[in-house]
Every structure is written in structure tokens, then in C-alpha cells.
């Protein structure tokens, strides 16, 4: 390279520029190919505002006739979320312990822990629910177990990371004083992980409240069953009642978890 004058500068060399245009072209081609490969019925897309207005019209006014049974299903939904969260908390603690690099007893347990976390997290709650409806039959048990299975991975992962990030110096100090492994965990690790533990538990309960509302769609108990029934029978006024109930319920859950966060953390 021998620049004779100093009045010329460009961000890219010509070669780089050609490369960049090439990448841009390829991206456009991929998007175009994706668009033409999916089968969109464009009339229905253009039609959607009218359809939406029509649906809203049918939903108004909401029909409160089934409110008692809706409230009952709502209560069931809260219970699914809460019980599942409690079980998940208990189970995720040992999983987090063996999935954290600094507390796991050996490499084998580390991989077992990691495997539990990954398998729990990579499957969506609804898919777990489908599986457990097949095992336990439709109902609340399938819902609780499904939410629990998904939550173990979530909480175990976050708690495990919190364990890996602790200050190791108090751990060293207690080891030096002759404390057993369990007592070191109890005094040097547990207090450091406590804030994360509460934050993660409350967050997961919050998420589980919302997830449990759709479980009924696959027959795993809760408000979703009534919603599904109402949609199937084109009972739109009842659908809107259920939707409003879910909205109120989620807002209430948000308020409660916000209150808990403020009190505990």
C-alpha cells in the first residue's frame, strides 16, 4: 500500500464493499423466498379489521351468567400455579446445588444437574402438559406437574448461576476453621444466595400464574378449560368474561408479587 496523497479515506476497501453488497443481496433473497413459500391467503389478511370488529361486537356485553364457575376455575388456576411453584422451589434447590460448578460433588453430578436443567427448560410448559395429560389424565394434577417440570429448570438455572457467582472468601474462612461441607454451605453460601432465591421464586410464581391460564386448552385444568369450551360453542360473551377475568387475575398477581418483592427484598 502506498498512498501518495492524504486526502482520500474510505471505510471499506472495494473488496469488502462487494462482499457487503453480496451479503445484503443474499439476505433479501432469503426473505423473498420465505415470503413466497408460506401460503398466505391475502384476502383474509385484508379482511381482518372487519372480522375483528365483528368479533368484538359479539363479545359485548360480557356474559356474567357463568361467573361462579369461572371464579372457581380461576381459584383452581391460582392453586395450580402456587402448588407447582412450591414443589419446584423444593426440587430446584438440590438441582442448583449439583449444577453449580463450585458446589457439585463431581463431574458426573455436574452433568446430571446440567442435563436436568436443559431438558426441563427446552420443553415448553404446554408440551409438558400434553405429556402429563396423557399420563395422569386430564385435570389439575397434569397441570401442576407440567408447570413444576418447566419451573425446575428455570429456577435451578438461575440459582445455580447465583451459587457460582458467590464470594468464595467466606467459604475459605469457614473451611479453614474445620467446618464440614454442609455447614459451610449453610453459613457461607446460603446467606449469599438468599436474595436471588426469593427474587427467582417470586418471579417464577408470577410467570406460572400466567402460564397456568392456558393449561386448560390442552385439558390440564384451570380457567383454560372454560375458555376452550366457550370458544368451541361460539359463546363469545362468555369468552370475553373469561378474558376479562384473566386480565384482572394477572394484574392482581402482578400487584401481589410486587408487594412481596418490596417486603422481602
Amino acid at each position: 500500500m502506498s498512498p501518495t496523497t492524504l486526502d482520500h479515506w474510505s471505510r471499506y476497501t472495494p473488496k469488502q464493499r462487494i462482499k457487503r453488497y453480496g451479503v445484503l443481496l443474499a439476505t433479501l433473497l432469503v426473505v423473498a423466498w420465505a415470503l413466497q413459500s408460506i401460503d398466505v391467503i391475502w384476502e383474509w389478511v385484508w379482511d381482518s379489521p372487519a372480522q375483528m370488529a365483528d368479533l368484538f361486537g359479539r363479545m359485548i356485553p360480557p356474559d356474567p351468567q357463568n361467573l361462579p364457575s369461572i371464579m372457581q376455575a380461576m381459584w383452581e388456576t391460582v392453586n395450580i400455579a402456587t402448588i407447582a411453584t412450591l414443589f419446584a422451589i423444593v426440587i430446584s434447590l438440590p438441582v442448583a446445588y449439583i449444577a453449580a460448578r463450585n458446589t457439585t460433588p463431581n463431574v458426573v453430578t455436574l452433568w446430571i444437574g446440567r442435563f436436568i436443567l436443559v431438558s426441563s427448560r427446552s420443553v415448553n410448559t404446554i408440551i409438558w402438559a400434553l405429556l402429563f395429560v396423557a399420563i395422569f389424565g386430564p385435570g389439575i394434577i397434569a397441570g401442576i406437574v407440567a408447570i413444576m417440570f418447566r419451573s425446575i429448570g428455570f429456577m435451578g438455572k438461575l440459582l445455580g448461576e447465583a451459587i457460582e457467582e458467590i464470594d468464595t472468601r467466606p467459604v475459605e474462612a469457614l473451611q479453614a476453621s474445620g467446618a464440614s461441607r454442609f455447614k459451610v454451605v449453610l453459613y457461607a453460601i446460603v446467606p449469599q444466595v438468599m436474595p436471588t432465591f426469593f427474587a427467582v421464586s417470586i418471579l417464577r410464581w408470577d410467570i406460572n400464574l400466567r402460564e397456568s391460564t392456558v393449561l386448560g386448552l390442552v385439558g390440564a385444568g384451570g380457567i383454560g378449560i372454560i375458555l376452550q369450551g366457550a370458544i368451541d360453542t361460539f359463546n363469545w360473551p362468555e369468552v370475553s368474561t373469561v378474558l376479562l377475568a384473566i386480565l384482572a387475575f394477572v394484574i392482581l398477581g402482578e400487584v401481589v408479587s410486587m408487594y412481596l418483592r418490596k417486603r422481602i427484598l
Binding site: 467466606p170 479453614a176 467446618a179 464440614s180 455447614k183 459451610v184 457461607a188
Partner: protein
């Protein structure tokens, strides 16, 4: 009586950090170990309670060879060795009393530890020691609410709760301001006398070492090259300890090998 013989430590097969080191500390002596960073002071101290595993040699504390101990025996032996750290190593979110009582974890049952129902005599001893170092009124405060000097006092009391036969202090004053630093050194010296406890202190501050300890051990590159009363530490000895040229030392070692 602590007796170290032919102690060698090398990390992952590299050059030895401690080279055939011999040291004897007995009675209620306060011994300071000085030397530039990397001389092996911290490694030496940590070999004694085996936070660092010695490569070879023996370390005997009142008749027990610490280097030969299995896991559960090591735990019992560690109860007899108190340690104070540069960064205090307290559990911030626990109260001062819980931190102090954590020095007794090797003695009390798991249930007592879990429920924080400590034995009466431990609580009494804790209050006595906390009173002695001036932190008794903080018993219910969280450890992270205290100042540096106060935190180190908690660290000292925690170590003394073990009723140790020897106290190791790894640069106990390096994180403290000069005045607090002197207070802590004076405290360690006085406690050594009161409890008839030998104390080994790693320290960078030579003035404090001279003022507060009975004996100074100077280390350079894994060897002890000075070991005498503080008054014997003259300029020449200081030069030898601190102004050593690493390259020369390595060359000498290469020639020997």
C-alpha cells in the same frame, strides 16, 4: 509448638514456590513474616492449615503431622488452627454474632448450626471476646454494616472462638488505614500474651512488624533468609530481603540444579 521441616510447594509442576523450608514457632511468640510479593508468605501460611496442599515436607503442630491427615482428621486438626484474612472473609449478610459463632462450626451439631441455637458457654465466650476487642454492642448488626477495623475484629474473634493452638494472620492489616492497622496489630500482640497463643503474621509493613512482634522471618523466593529478633533487622538485611534480583536468584538455582 509448630514445626515445619523441608516444606516444598510447587503449583502444577512449575518452579517451587517454597523451597525446602524449615521453621519452628513455639510458646506464645508473635512472629511476623516479611518479604516482597511472590516470596511465598501466603503459600506458607496456607500450607499450614492445608488451604494449599503442600507438595512435600512435614508440618507438625503439637505432635500432629498435619500433612498426613485424611479429610475428616484434617477437619478436626483445622479446628486447632485459627486464621485471620486480609479481606476479613466475613459473611456479609449474617449478624456479627453469627459470624463469630461460625468459628465454632467444627464443634457444634448441624442442628444447632441450622437453628442458631448455640451452646451457652459458646455465647458467653463470644460476648467475652467481643467485649475484649470492643465490638460486643454490634452483636445483632449485620457484618456489612461495620467499618474495616471493626470487621477485622470480628474476624479475629471468629478465629479465637475455635480456641486454637496457633493463630495465622494473612496480611491482617493490609486493607486498613494506618491507625486502625496499628490497633489491630496491638490487639493481636496483646491477645497472644493473654491467651498464651503463638501467632504468625504475614505483613508488608516492616515498621509495624518491628514494633509489634517478637521475631521477624524474612522470605525471598521461597526461602527463609532472615530469622531473628526485630532489632537485628538492619538495612543490609532489609536490602537482602527486598532488593533481591529475581534473575540472579534463578541463575543461582539453575547452577545448583
Amino acid at each position: 509448638m509448630l514445626k515445619i521441616e523441608k516444606l516444598v510447594k510447587r503449583y502444577n509442576g512449575g518452579d517451587p514456590v517454597l523451597k525446602d523450608l524449615d521453621l519452628e514457632v513455639g510458646g506464645q511468640q508473635v512472629v511476623s513474616i516479611i518479604g516482597s510479593s511472590g516470596a511465598g508468605k501466603s503459600t506458607l501460611l496456607r500450607c499450614i492449615n492445608r488451604l494449599v496442599e503442600p507438595t512435600s515436607g512435614t508440618i507438625t503442630l503439637n505432635g500432629t503431622d498435619l500433612t498426613k491427615l485424611k479429610k475428616s482428621e484434617l477437619r478436626l486438626a483445622r479446628r486447632r488452627i485459627g486464621m485471620v484474612f486480609q479481606s476479613f472473609n466475613l459473611v456479609d449478610r449474617l449478624t456479627v454474632m453469627e459470624n463469630v459463632q461460625s468459628g465454632r462450626l467444627g464443634y457444634i451439631s448441624t442442628w444447632a448450626a441450622l437453628t442458631r441455637r448455640y451452646p451457652k458457654e459458646d455465647i458467653r465466650r463470644a460476648y467475652e471476646l467481643m467485649e475484649r476487642v470492643g465490638i460486643a454492642h454490634y452483636a445483632n448488626k449485620r457484618a456489612d454494616e461495620l467499618s474495616g477495623g471493626e470487621r477485622q475484629r470480628v474476624g479475629v474473634v471468629r478465629a479465637l472462638m475455635q480456641q486454637p493452638e496457633i493463630l495465622l494472620a494473612d496480611e491482617p492489616t493490609a486493607s486498613l488505614d494506618p491507625k486502625t492497622s496499628e490497633q489491630i496489630m496491638a490487639l493481636l500482640r496483646d491477645l497472644a500474651n493473654e491467651l498464651e497463643l503463638p501467632v504468625i503474621i504475614n505483613i508488608h509493613n516492616v515498621t509495624e512488624a518491628k514494633q509489634y512482634t517478637d521475631r521477624i522471618v524474612g522470605m525471598r523466593y521461597g526461602r527463609i533468609i532472615f530469622d531473628d529478633v526485630p532489632d537485628a533487622l538492619d538495612a543490609a538485611a532489609m536490602d537482602e530481603i527486598y532488593a533481591g534480583v529475581p534473575a540472579e536468584d534463578r541463575a543461582a538455582q539453575g547452577a545448583a540444579a
